[in-house]
Amino acid sequence: MDEAVQLPFAPTDATRRSRRREAIARVFLGAMTAMLVVPLLAILGLLVAEGLPALTWEFLLTSPAAGMTAGGIFPAIVGTLWLVGVSLAVAAPIGVMAAIYLNEYATDNWGTRIINLAIVNLAGVPSIVHALFGVGAFVLFLGLGTSILAASLTLAVMTLPVIIASTKEALAAVPLSFRQACWVLGASRWQTIRHVVLPNSIQGILTGVILQVSRAAGETAPIMFTGAAFYLPFLPQSVQDQCMALSMHLFTLSTQVPGVPEAMPYATALVLLALVMTVNLTSILVRSYLRARRKW
């Protein structure tokens, strides 16, 4: 027998088996993760391939024409910017202050538990229910009518929980010792927040807020009945006007209008996706840069 010499640490069959399983699991899980990248790349690739040829300056800078089967998407781009801008202006201050309350003031009692529960649930409310709320509360009850304001407020309520969550994360990253050092000097809680906590977290807060609000640009259901129009021949002049929106326009082009040239919805989708992705990717990169640069 050759195997007379048994090395003291030679792997047993059981070890070999579990090592083999480990290798299989690693490859299998890795493949699963990789397959998630496929749809992302496929969608991006397809939209670029089909949409890019139609993407001219004229397409970006003119209004739809001939019953939306020709022309461009300029009013939709402007409308989306209005909606995102107004909802950012409403949601950001409320969300940031809510996060300041939760992270800097709230103690761990049942009131705080209810707030946290509400935030989780607000984040889980279906977008079409937000739309119903927008119609009931802003369009009818507050009498705003279908307008940019009503649609933006609906979007603002929808993005509020994610703004709170990301701001809280940024605030929580400031070490407690920073606050304690400030308190020891006799500063009040608010002075500490104003002069120590916020300056040390403001970049993180802003990145998070922008990241979340950019996602509002892609929402369709909440604005469908509250302020976004299928087609408007003019640009919005104030928040009381209706507007077109890129997401709504893509929905309209691909489901409601017959005879649209094939490249148009692709190009619209490409513009929408490019807008959302650029903002997202930028703020993700800025965030990881900030994390790497953090001094503590």
């Binding site: 579990s18 529960l117 229910v129 119609v135 009931g136 006799g186």
Partner: protein, 310 residues
């Protein structure tokens, strides 16, 4: 944060003007009010949706028929019927299929990202998952219309490609990012000492995942799945575009269905304000709110229960 209150700073120390103190009080009150805003909005969403349909819900809605009848015929001239069972089953079928895809892929990716990658690879994978989450639902719906639709007709010989399969695959891909990120958080929350103890005993990483991490992170992973379910139930535009429009109980994944969300989205614009039909759509809204509320509440309770135990 209990630590904060233990060393609570004093606001009214000598030498501060009354005006400064008053301004500070006002600001702090404002911060507190904003703190409660989320609670206010959740309540008002429920109230407004309920009130907008209240006349119909209280006076003319037969709850048994509403929940258990499959007849959704709100536009009939002689006999309007408001049964949502077919719509609920539509939502259920699409959501189930979505979870069949999203749960294994989501949890698998969460385990891979959390346990089998480090450093740069981990960061890149997380960014990709975040970007996947950023694709707007109308773009997913568009993909369903122009890509999946012809593919399904080609591969499965279905008469129409806008069906449960199409919507389920899209919703699955849309729910994956949320399952990955919450699941990864749950795995990250397991103390490293658990891993070290297991590896020191000679277990492989995979054995550690199966026998140590899964049991330890069980509730967090379950919560991740529940939040994915909540997301899938509530998704509107993508399913509106990709599942077809027939109100029916699906018998196979190649049947067209209509979900609760898609019904509201496609009919709200065409009904007269205040009509029974209009209010019935708000009643569906109440149903949807309740469904997702229960799902999210369970997820939250499960996570809290787990935290209490540790």
């Amino acid at each position: 944060m209990p630590e904060l209150t233990e060393h609570a700073p004093i606001a009214a120390r000598p030498g501060r003007s009354l005006a400064a103190l008053a301004a500070e009080r006002v600001l702090e009150l404002l911060v507190r009010i904003c703190g409660y805003s989320a609670t206010f909005f959740v309540f008002s969403i429920f109230l407004f949706v309920l009130l907008s349909g209240s006349d119909f819900i209280l006076n003319r809605l037969n709850p048994g028929e509403f929940l258990l009848s499959t007849e959704w015929v709100p536009t009939s001239v002689t006999n309007k019927r408001y049964g949502t069972l077919a719509l609920t089953l539509g939502t259920l079928s699409v959501t189930s299929l979505a979870m069949l895809i999203a749960v294994p892929f989501g949890l698998g990716a969460a385990v891979y990202v959390s346990e089998f990658t480090t450093g740069r690879t981990k960061e890149i994978l997380k960014v990709i998952i975040e970007l996947l989450a950023a694709i707007p639902s109308v773009v997913w719906g568009f993909i369903g219309l122009v890509i999946m639709n012809p593919l399904i007709i080609d591969w499965f010989g279905a008469p129409i490609g806008l069906n449960v399969l199409n919507g389920g695959v899209l919703l699955g891909l849309m729910s994956v990012p949320i399952i990955v990120s919450i699941g990864e958080d749950a795995l990250k929350a397991v103390p490293d000492s658990y891993r070290e103890a297991s590896l020191a005993m000679g277990a492989t990483r995979w054995q550690t995942v199966v026998h140590v991490l899964f049991p330890a992170a069980r509730s967090g992973l379950l919560a991740a799945v529940l939040l994915g379910v909540g997301r899938a139930i509530g998704e509107t535009i993508a399913v509106l575009m990709a599942t077809g429009h027939s109100v029916q109980i699906p018998h196979s994944v190649l049947d067209s269905v209509r979900t609760l969300t898609a019904t509201i989205a496609s009919e709200l614009g065409e009904t007269a304000r205040g009509s029974d039909h209009y209010q019935a759509l708000f009643a569906i809204g109440v149903l949807l709110f309740t469904l997702t509320f229960i799902v999210n509440l369970s997820a939250d309770l499960i996570v809290r229960g787990a935290r209490g135990q540790r």
